[in-house]
Symmetry: C2
Subunit: 155 residues, 2 copies
């Protein structure tokens, strides 16, 4: 299969998902020329605000492969990932990304992707969701414990 | 309970999680003075790169409340969210955030939070994960279908 073929699979998932009443987003994860995880936006059907197509595909691929490290995998997503999903792409260590629509396209049809990208670039105190730091010294105890744990599994 | 009490709950989850071999992160979601969702970093225990504390807490709260809209809720997280989790905070429409450690603290003990924030600010072509656009016109079909669907559930 070619890159276009895998992208067509992601697009097919996005189209089928709209037909089922969900958001217009689909994604597949590929390793060694085979699809190892698929996902479609399931926010409203699962009542889960984190259930974007890429998150679902990454979770499914990680489950299928039995590892949190997808560094030998590529993602094909029907739309450029939002900041949440782009963050997930980094944490999953995906090696490459192909996308169809852009975040600007997503913004045009009413999704917040571009807005959230802009918020990310602002310092905490200028963002629209108020944020306040509390109990730093107590919170740091777990960080010290992690640092000093010789058996930790880094990720 | 006070804001400090809820933060202490999030910190307690982070400490217990390190004791169990997981990452040093915990979070709770609060609505009307009651905890409606908890989460601890479960990346290595669940083999799920998306299983950060805030994502877990948001998913649990959404399940508990039966809605993807957590706009009446506040999150208390033991560490400033990474871009993935901050994105989730926006998508969940959380109204306020309290955090303990900062992304700089997280970077100091080996986590990629600060690195991913920097990547987000770069244009796609300058980021460390190569990204390429493919089949835009085909991908846009699902967006048009979404736009034209009078019964869509927006989120």
């Amino acid at each position: 299969m070619t890159h276009e073929d895998f992208m067509k699979e992601a697009i097919k998932l996005s189209v089928e998902n709209v037909e089922k009443g969900g958001g217009p987003f689909g994604a597949v994860i590929v390793k060694d020329g085979k699809i190892v995880g698929k996902g479609a936006n399931s926010v409203t059907s699962h009542n889960d605000p984190t259930a974007h197509a890429e998150i679902m595909a990454i979770r499914n691929a990680a489950k299928e492969l039995g590892t949190f490290d997808l560094s030998e995998c590529t993602i094909y997503t029907s739309c450029e990932p939002c900041p949440m999903c782009l963050g997930a792409v980094y944490w999953a260590r995906l090696s490459k990304m192909y996308y169809g629509n852009t975040k600007t396209d997503a913004a045009k049809i009413g999704f917040d992707d571009a807005f959230i990208y802009k918020e990310m670039e602002l310092p905490l105190e200028k963002r629209s969701i108020p944020a306040k730091q509390l109990l730093h010294d107590e919170a740091y105890i777990a960080f010290k414990m992690w640092e000093e744990n010789p058996d930790k599994i880094e990720y």
